[in-house]
Amino acid sequence: MRKLTRESWINSSLVLLLALAPLCASLLDEPYYVNLASRVVIIAMAAVGLNLALGFGGLISFGHAAFFGLGGYVAGVAAYHAFDGSYFIGVIPGSDQMPVIWLVAVLVAGLAATFIGVISLRTQGVYFIMITLAFAQMIYYFAISFPTYGGEDGLSIYVRNSLFSLDTSDPLIFFGICFFSLMLSIFVTRRIMGSRFGAALTMARLNDIRLATSGVEPFPIRLTTFVLSAMITSGAGALFADLNGFVSPSMLSWHHSGELMVIVILGGVGRLFGPVAGAVVFVLLETFIGGFTQHWQFFLGLILLSVVLFANGGLIGLLAGRPRHD
């Protein structure tokens, strides 16, 4: 049997902790903490999506909130039309079935990411950071100035969307759905990175000229990664809308893109479970520092600054040392 490394020990305990905490909270009849755990898990999943592009692919996207928000808006708009029986652009009926919503969310984000990726991936470095930011802003302003779906005020989802015959309004069951989705997205990332495609992606990040000379075009590899990454983040967005019962343009804002990056970095770039660790720490900081001062972001800023300046490799890196292949 393969010997477990320190990193895999940390990862397993993290997952175990994340699964057991809401169970305990549920037994103690504390639905607030179950929902908090769902929030952690969903944000972790969004960050897992970003980590695929940013960590494994080296594509520093500063616009992933766009995909997160798109997923959220798909859930919101579908539920809005299902609620009053109207049609989207006059032809497409709404839906309150999660599988349908997820599928549409993932497809919409995939399409958007293909369009954005084809243009943005022509550029590199700072230009890529800025152009992804600009596209995200474009979608943000579009959402703000579209009065049908709430404009600046956002859109409420009155009844949580349903999944087969499960009672999705039960916090624990909803947590289960989110947790399953997170594990699925980590599994998908793992399979991607373990495949030939993953090897090509790593090479595209480290040395794209060498990749090209060995007969693999880097551009399609990067584009596929960008699209897959957007799809995962968008799925998380759809879940997030259902968790809050609310979508607003703030899901699309560039602050959110920044936060997702922060989570990935905080946890450790390009590590499978880095985003999970990052999300746990981020949401706990937000909740607990936010509990005694409303200026919690001031302290978040200080912590983030020290992590960037002094702890390269993030939390998992701090605990588990450098990865063996880097």
Binding site: I60, S120, T123, Y127, M130, A134, F135, Y141, I144, L305
Partner: protein, 306 residues
């Protein structure tokens, strides 16, 4: 639609453009010389506006406030360069983005801690509160005209600073080959602090000047920051000339789009739809412009160090 309205909006566009240039020139200099991507530039803009509003409130003079705003932002810029930014020059862009994002959080929350959440107001100086008649039947506010004038002076001043002075020569040399000018005995770290502080002064100046036209509040810097990024990406990062052209382009396109697109759409759609589609498209217009420019020229209109 008459000529006077078009002219007036064109002037508004230019006014936004020169302020964007004031912001963007600092960003592009810092990127060109130090290779640093600085998200906290918008915070310096905000600090300028807050200091200006605060000092103007105490002394009762807008001009003292303006001076304090620009200098205060400059001092603030020099301090963050010395404490944080200089550790980032050798890091990759990702670390720079994150560290300066952290600075935004610290500055924004710090400011709302000190000044409270409600916005401050800056009164227009009496001297400039009137308006003037321009040829073509336009009456235009004197204050906005003054902003355009200041912008032009800054553009000329920067041009002279960079192309005619010794320090400008060093800045240009720093853009081309950092190690070499260090080897020739130029104090690189002092030069970097100077460049960063100049950018900060300009950002503070823009914040103080525009603080009169909008409310001075936390988060006011971020829309300007993003517009300034669009400007330098369109113009070519690191190029002052690009920043000037990009800023005027963005200012004029944004202003005219917001005024005329809804009207344009009402020719083909009915009124309510036209307004919402028109205004949605108008707010996306500059990003579309940027996407088109980058699709054609991935390094911007005037690529630096080409």
């Amino acid at each position: 639609m008459n000529i006077a309205l078009v002219l007036e909006q064109l002037l508004n566009g230019v006014q936004l453009g020169v302020m964007l240039f004031t912001m963007a020139s600092g960003l592009t200099l810092v990127f060109g010389v130090m290779g640093l991507i600085n998200l906290s530039h918008g915070s310096l803009y905000m600090m300028g506006a807050f200091i200006c509003a605060y000092v103007a409130g105490i002394t009762g003079s807008f001009w003292i406030g303006l001076l304090a705003g620009a200098l205060g932002a400059g001092v603030m810029g020099a301090i963050i360069e010395l404490v944080v930014i200089r550790r980032l020059y050798d890091r990759d862009h990702l670390d720079q983005v994150l560290a300066t994002f952290a600075l935004i959080l610290i500055f924004s929350e710090g400011t709302s801690w000190i000044f409270g959440a409600s916005p401050l107001w800056l009164d227009m100086p009496d001297l400039l509160s009137g308006s003037v008649s321009l040829p073509g039947g336009v009456t235009y506010p004197l204050y906005r005209l003054m902003i355009i004038g200041v912008g032009i002076v800054i553009a000329i001043g920067l041009y002279l600073l960079i192309s005619r002075t010794r320090i400008g020569m060093r800045i240009r040399a720093g853009e081309n080959d950092r190690e070499m000018i260090g080897a020739l005995g130029v104090n690189i770290s002092a030069l970097y602090t100077f460049v960063f502080a100049v950018g900060a002064v300009l950002a503070g100046l823009a914040g103080s000047l525009l603080g009169v036209l909008q409310s001075v509040q936390v988060g006011m810097g971020e829309p300007m920051l993003i517009l300034a990024f669009v400007v330098i990406v369109i113009g070519g990062i690191g190029s002052i000339k690009g920043a000037l052209v990009g800023a005027l382009l963005v200012g004029v396109v944004d202003t005219l789009g917001r005024i005329f697109l809804p009207g344009l759409f009402s020719l083909v759609l009915d009124n309510a739809d036209a307004t919402s589609v028109g205004s949605a498209l108008a707010s996306m217009l500059i990003y579309l412009l940027m996407a088109v420019v980058l699709a054609v020229k991935p390094k911007g209109l005037f690529p630096a160090n080409a």
